[in-house]
Every structure is written in structure tokens, then in C-alpha cells.
Assembly symmetry: C2
Homo-oligomer: 304 residues x 2
């Protein structure tokens, strides 16, 4: 088993997490969440999505969040942008990096954003032009890369095709999204190899939802394939409102716990992050799926 | 990554699971649970523990359970026995196989059964004699093999030492128990190698608790080391009342889901097992930690 010495974590709780919560987090609360995540050592935080407020009301204060978020040395604030207009707004608000999304499956893309994959890619081309003009890096997410709630299996060749298009448009990294949380470790090996063999110079990131309990096993399989960049959501907040049965992302603190136990550096203060997870859980008023926040990290310390 | 073609699952929900539930499962209910698990295809079921009723009241009907449990072709009913008296009773009741337990850490063993490790091994020697006389196989569990709630880290050499003693006493298999759910995949690799190198001919079984979310990742790491025998608890029922912070075992249905998705046979009907998990959850009246029972397996079928 190959393991990296260090992994990069992109905390997506304030975006992918919150957009699936019924409770609206007022702007000051979002800012507090982001500040606490940064204080816990997270250096990449997806802070907002510049989507239509009608489509995702939880993100209606994206501009305020990006404008007002406390600036920390070395902290990158990522903004998800669905289209050219979102990119303009995100850049104007001061985002450090953009993220674009297109589905690997035609049906999911159409139901998610009412566009064909080609239409989405054409929109991403416009985003790429704006990002280039502003000298901002952008990552390309391929959602439903491991399975589609409407189409079922998604061919690795199709994922590679979309990933290659994103790279050709200028994405500095490609992220493979297990939108519905159906990936298994063998599939992770297979898909990562396919995409890496086709795009050997492209940094890969993995975005797992933990709908069926395989999240950390999938992370382990990806590490074994040389991937060292993962998304996580504090507490396991999150999901995708357009993917039936989806649940939260891999809980960041569980990912950090597993990494630290294996001697893999993350730069995150686990105890502080567990505190943030418990605080978020108290705010949303329901049990969040992350595990270490219930057990605590005492054993980690005793055993270290 | 090496993956087995098939894994053997020992369902421990009726024992390790129930003994940590406040709600007493009346004997007919236990028998119904066991029958439903067998009907779902589980062929090894730890059905009871012949412990002191004062220590673990939930297991006070162990004799009735083993005596009355429906006999299915090919189904092995395992009884946990803490001592000679328990072994006599389990054999008299008609158990197919026995399981013994000793901790790798002195402090946990003393707090768990008020004996030193040596005293426990002396007791297991008596159990082994009874098992041999009755021509019953028995497995030796080494609990706290990955960490102790009182001592912290447990040296792999100490785990090997205890495992070797169990083998020398006649255990047909050795099971390594992550009693407090603190194991990480790298540690699984290291410990499995240590024990296998020291006892190359001994079948190994892994018993993970999923206290910190690493359960299935640990299973994956063990598979990569050639292990093909795992314990699971339906719904994720279970824990260890003597290990602070412990939570349930890896949920059997999540383990089956991951295995099937990877093309690994289990012999289990996943849909039927999910039904059992949901039924058990309704009985205990609280959310059990297993994940697939919430999401369902529809995507699995669509994607297959």
C-alpha cells in the first residue's frame, strides 16, 4: 500500500455542506464557521457558490461571504461558479480560486443544471477566460464520476473524456466527484488509473460522499493510487439536492484522524476541528454523520 | 491492491451487538433475529455468550438460544465462552463452535474479566480441552489488539505473543479485535504482517469496531494483506461495555455492500440483510450506525 507523506484537504462544508441544510446559516454564522475552520488549520476552504439564489437559497449571500471572510496568510478561498455570471461575481468579490462542475452523465447534468454536457463545457470555457484574465486558478469537477442516480454506471472512458476537456480548457486540477456516494475502492483504483493514464500530468482530487460508509476506504484506495488531495466536509455536512439518496461528504475530521493515525500530515489541528464539528452539529440540530466527534481523539493521543 | 475472491463473514450482532444494548431482547426475538440472519445467507453466526448473567444480563438466556436456534444446513452457531464453565454449558447446549477471548493488554484484561492474561490463558487451556473432547473447533480472539483504552498503544509483538499462545493451545483461527475502534489502515498492515510472519499457517480473522469511521478502510487494508475473514454486526449493533468510547462493530450490510461492489462474494443476500438491519433498528429504537440501510442498494443494482 502506497501512502502519501502529506495530503491536501479542501474543506467544502461551507458550500457543499450548507447547501444541503434546511437551516439557513446567516452570513455572520457562515463567516464564523469559515474562520473557525481556518483557525483549525484548513488552508483551502470552498466558501460559497455563486449560483442562482432561487435555485439554492442557502448560497444567496455568496458575495457577502467572499467579500467579508477573514483573510489568513496561506488560506485559499474557493468559490464554486456554475456559469460566466457566477464567475464574474466571484472574481469581483475576491475569490482566490474558482471551481467549475460538469457531470460525467448526460442525464444528471441536464437535471442538475438543465444543460447538456457540451453546453456546460461551453459555459466553463467562458469561466476559464474570465479566470485567466483575473489570473485565478480554477479546478474542474467531474460529478457523478462513479455513478449516476439516473443512468447507473458511468464508463471510465466518459469520465476521462470530460476530464480531458476540462484540462484542455485550462483547469489546473481535475476533481472526480462521487456525487451519490456509491464508489467502492476497486472502482477508485480503476477510475483513477484510467484518468491518470489519459492525463498523466494533471493533479487529481477526489470528492467522496459517504452515503454508504465506504468514504474512507475509497480515500485509502485513492492514496494507494498516488492521489494526495481530498475534499471533506466538517462533521460530514452536505450532499447534493439533485442526487436522490446522496448524503454528506466524507467528514473532514474523520479524514484527518485516519491520516494522522497513519503518519500522514494534513496541517490540521484535529482537536480544534472536532470542536468545530461539534459546534456545527449543535447548530444544525441533528446528528451529523462524522464519527470521531462522538468518540473523541483521546485514544489517538494515548496511543501515539 | 490485492482483493480476495470471497470473504467469510461471522455475524456477531446477536452477541457482541446485543450485549451492548440496554433493551433486553427476549429469547424468541433473539431466535427470530438469528433466523433472519441465517435466511439472509449468513453462515457463521455468533449467537450467544455463556457469561455470568450478573455480568451481562442481556446474555442470560444463552443456553435457550443455542438450544432452540433453528438449524440450517451449513450454518455454524458460535458461542463465546469466557471460561471452563461457559464452555461446558455451550457444548451441552449444542454450540457448533466456541470462541475464547483474551486481551493483548494486561490492564484491559484485568478490568474486563478480573484476571491476568496468564490466568485467562490458563482458563482457555481448560476450554480447549473440553472443545477437543467434544470435537468442536474454537477460535481465539485477541482483544485490544490495536489499542487499549487504559494503556494506549499495544505492541504488535505482544499481540503476536498472545496469538501464538492461543494457537499453541489449539485455536484453529486467531481473531484480532480492534475493541475500541482506534485502528488505522497502516496499523492493520503492520499488525497483520507481524502476526502472519510469526504464525504463517494460522487463519486470521479481523474484528473491527467502527468507532471512528475507519472500519471499512481497515477491512480494505486487511484484504490487501490477504485476510479474507471478518466479523460484522447487523446494523452496526454492538460495542464493548468495558471499553470506554467503544461503538458498534462494522455494520455487516455495509461490509457486504462494499465487498459485492468490488466483485467479492459473500454468499449474503444484501437486500434481505438490509431488511434485517432496518428491523433491528426499529426494535432498538435508536439510529444504528450502519449506512447502506439508509441509502438503500438501488444504485448498486442500477450500476451493476
Amino acid at each position: 500500500m502506497r501512502l502519501p507523506e502529506r495530503i491536501t484537504i479542501t474543506e467544502v462544508g461551507p458550500r457543499d455542506g450548507l447547501q444541503n441544510e434546511d437551516l439557513f446559516f446567516e452570513t455572520p454564522r457562515k463567516l464564523e464557521l469559515i474562520a473557525r475552520l481556518a483557525a483549525a488549520g484548513l488552508r483551502r476552504i470552498e466558501a460559497a457558490s455563486f449560483v442562482s439564489p432561487a435555485a439554492i437559497p442557502q448560497m444567496r449571500d455568496a458575495r457577502e461571504v467572499i467579500t467579508q471572510v477573514p483573510r489568513w496568510p496561506g488560506v485559499t478561498y474557493v468559490a464554486l461558479v456554475p456559469n460566466e455570471r457566477g464567475a464574474r461575481d466571484a472574481i469581483a468579490a475576491g475569490a482566490d480560486e474558482l471551481a467549475t462542475v460538469v457531470s460525467a452523465s448526460e442525464t444528471h447534468n441536464r437535471r442538475n443544471v438543465n444543460r447538456t454536457i457540451e453546453e456546460s463545457l461551453a459555459g466553463i470555457e467562458k469561466v476559464a477566460e474570465l479566470a485567466a484574465a483575473a489570473a485565478l486558478p480554477w479546478a474542474g469537477y467531474v460529478s457523478t464520476a462513479f455513478g449516476c442516480p439516473y443512468e447507473g454506471a458511468v464508463a471510465p472512458a466518459q469520465v476521462l473524456r470530460v476530464a480531458a476537456r476540462l484540462r484542455a480548457l485550462g483547469a489546473y486540477a481535475v476533481a472526480l466527484g462521487d456525487t451519490i456516494g456509491s464508489a467502492d475502492p476497486r472502482q477508485v483504483h480503476t477510475l483513477v488509473r484510467e484518468v491518470r493514464d489519459g492525463l498523466p500530468d494533471v493533479p487529481l482530487r477526489l470528492h467522496f460522499h459517504d452515503t454508504r460508509g465506504t468514504g474512507l476506504a475509497n480515500v485509502l484506495a485513492a492514496m494507494d493510487e498516488g492521489v494526495a488531495s481530498f475534499d471533506g466536509s466538517v462533521g460530514g455536512l452536505g450532499g447534493c439536492p439533485y442526487a436522490p439518496g446522496a448524503a454528506g461528504n466524507v467528514a473532514t475530521e474523520d479524514l484527518v484522524y485516519m491520516a494522522h493515525r497513519m503518519g500522514i500530515a494534513t496541517g490540521v489541528d484535529l482537536a480544534a476541528l472536532i470542536d468545530v464539528a461539534r459546534w456545527v452539529e449543535s447548530l444544525v440540530g441533528r446528528a451529523l454523520p462524522g464519527r470521531i466527534k462522538g468518540a473523541g481523539e483521546a485514544v489517538l493521543r494515548d496511543s501515539a
